[in-house]
């Protein structure tokens, strides 16, 4: 056992740190460090900077133009970018659909789709959830009927994150109603500019617009956009889930936000308040324990020994931590977290925030927004079912 990185890994970390320092625009990291609103341009310009360096698909193997990093190197990359205040990479293209295209797509599909994902030029969205299919995803109803060399798609997806910016969308669609629900699902890539596609943003409780409803009305999709075989889509989707094992814990962002919480507590005069400070201390232990758990998974992946089936635990703990730090930040702001002044959540606002500290403006909204984390990606209750199943055998 050894709780340290090799000299090569240390060097790797330092190289990443230096590069990020050089290349991450300060106006973007300022927004991230202060939880100000990120625009589409912010997200995409960082994606393109990474893309130019060949790091947007940072989990890709070399054969597809990725850096071919180990699990530990990927972790170090995630850590250095998060701590420096980089936005999270919008995962739908480079992290989610690309590995599926790589594993199950044809050489033509590789050539057609991967370059746009790698460069950050093409914005991808995810079409999984439906109004009637949340945790029970396999019950999905959006139908794709084969007609000659194309599919005709009808139905509705929802909770499509940042779908308002989407160029392309990967979808789970029903191509058969025979057998178990899982066996009639296919994995289809769809151009969101196709006639019959309607995107309607959903305003969330904090006033933000980050998810959408997407309707398909007789949308024609060329059959060549099917990934792999018809009715095998569920298998491909599960492959996709296996690609975000430690990423889902988001421990590196939690470390950055814990630092921010401490700064806010100091500014608000709570650092020496035992009751409040102890709550931060509990969160600090949570974050360290989560990081240790992530490191255990990375080590197991590297050595192939002591494999750890704790993805469900990482999701539960990681999401609870995200909720907790936003909650404590809001509480730290006290009554001055309550004014809802949307412009104050944008960088450069010159207005007069009540109480004089504009840093408090986004805290309550962030808290409300983060309630999603224990719901999405398989709700934490579904995760507990999975954990219990594993433990009970």
């Amino acid at each position: 056992m050894d709780l340290s990185f090799t000299p090569e890994e240390q060097k790797f970390r330092e190289d990443i740190r230096a590069w990020v320092k050089e290349n991450l625009p300060q106006e973007i990291s300022h927004k991230v460090h202060n939880a100000l609103e990120l625009t589409r341009d912010d997200l995409q310009s960082w994606a393109k900077i990474l893309g130019k360096k060949g790091w947007l698909g940072y989990g890709w193997p070399k054969e597809f133009g990725g850096p071919g990093w180990t699990a530990i190197e990927r972790h170090l990359f995630e850590e250095e970018t998060a701590l420096a205040g980089a936005p999270r990479i919008v995962p739908f293209g480079p992290v989610m659909v690309a590995p599926v295209i790589q594993a199950f797509g044809t050489p033509e599909q590789h050539k057609r789709f991967l370059p746009g994902i790698a460069s950050g030029e093409v914005w991808w969205s995810q079409g999984y959830s439906e109004p009637g299919s949340g945790s029970d995803l396999a019950s999905l109803k959006t139908k794709a009927e084969r007609q000659g060399d194309k599919y005709i798609v009808n139905g509705q997806k929802t909770w499509t994150t940042l779908g308002q910016y989407g160029d392309w969308m990967f979808n789970l669609v029903r191509t058969s109603s025979e057998g178990k629900p899982q066996t009639g699902i296919s994995f289809l890539l769809l151009d969101m500019k196709s006639p019959g596609v309607t995107v309607r943003p959903i305003k969330l409780l904090d006033g933000s617009v980050e998810v959408n409803e997407v309707w398909f009305d007789n949308v024609e999709v060329p059959a060549e956009n099917l990934i792999g075989e018809e009715n095998k889509g569920w298998t491909y989707a599960k492959h996709l889930l296996s690609h975000e094992r430690t990423n889902i814990a988001d421990v590196n962002r939690a470390k950055r936000e814990l630092e921010r919480l401490k700064r806010i507590a100091k500014t608000e005069g709570l650092w020496d308040d035992t009751r409040f400070r102890d709550e931060i201390a509990k969160l600090e232990v949570d974050v360290v324990a989560l990081e240790m758990m992530v490191l255990r998974v990375l080590s197991a992946a590297a050595s192939g020994k002591n494999s750890l089936d704790v993805a469900g635990l990482l999701k539960i703990k990681g999401s609870e931590i995200q909720q907790r730090y936003t909650e404590l930040m809001m509480l730290a702001g006290g009554a001055y977290s309550l004014p809802l002044i949307r412009e104050a959540m944008h960088a450069g606002w010159q207005g007069d925030f009540p109480g004089g500290h504009v840093g408090l403006a986004p805290l309550a909204s962030n808290y409300f927004n983060m309630r999603k984390t224990t719901i999405y990606g398989g709700s934490n209750e579904v995760q507990r079912n999975i954990v219990a199943q594993t433990v009970l055998g």
Binding site: D2, I72, R277, D278, L290, S299, A388
Partner: protein
Amino acid sequence: MDFDFSDDQEQLRDAVRKWVDKGYDFERRRGIEAAGGFSREAWDELSELGLGGLYISEDDGGLGMGPVAGMVVMEELGRGIVLEPFAQTLIAGGVLSGYAGADVKDAWLPRIAGGQALVVLAHHERKARYRTDVCEATATKAGDGWTVSGTKGVVPAGDQADAYLVPATVDGKIALFLVERGADGVAARGYGTQDGGRAAEVVFDKAAAALVTLDGLTALEHAVDIGIAAICAEAVGVMDKTLAVTVEYMNTRKQFGVTIATFQALRHRLADMKMQLELARSMSYYASLKLNAPTAERRQAVARAKYQLGVSMRFVGQNAVQLHGGIGVTDEYIVSHYFKRLTQMEMSFGDTLHHLGEVSARMEETAGVFA
């Protein structure tokens, strides 16, 4: 970054596990508890495995192994809820090796390594609670040696041990001494403890003492930290077994015509127990891997670990009893014994609130495994 165990460590684990499985079953433990909570015979069997010398260098008759080896042994002893306080031997070996002069080392380390001498930490005082820097016992220079006066409580196997490590003040500053139980002026009043083990109230009245170090606070803090890492590992072993018997019970016990493992309310509670166990295991690794770090880093790490372990131990213990229903609160069934051991460990070397305070006091701007 490597969390695999070496072949040596795996062999050590196998040896201890074999002894626990074959030599220390629940019936034997029950017998030891009834006979007072400590068995010198069982202690000798442990010593024959060569465990006494884990933290003692080969020059001093030990094995010179590191904290991970200690962790492996403690996990396995935890699985058997072994009553004999082996953590104390790790403490004595580590502290005397690190802080004592040659004469004390020569006299005691080979005997600790061989198991002939059981040396335990006698540091609790009524008014100190879990603080290491509060000490009313005093020491006085007497000729070539020293004498120690004061009262120490809840000393593990305190009326069975051969000697004690005793903090006492010299000119208001804490020093650490070694006092033999057989010395004049030592009176140990033994009693059983809640977990079935044994402890004693030990009164020192001008008892002859050997000086370990005048920088007693540093040594005592190190002793406590070795103890915390040991207890964390032991707790992981106990919780592993606690979860296993709970799973077995849920898969067997039927109510309303089905096994209780089918009830979602109970399944979710079990999932939460698994969460607490894995957080605890992660932090037990963390404590042991930081045990040789510079003092401030080590202290911060063990405080974080003991806080997590305390939360985990209480949650897993209480809920294991709850999931067992009525049989969980009987003496007959083993789960209540796991629960009591976990509770006692939560209250050893500083309880959960104490360590929350430690973590809180030590917080810095950044935090993480490497910060």
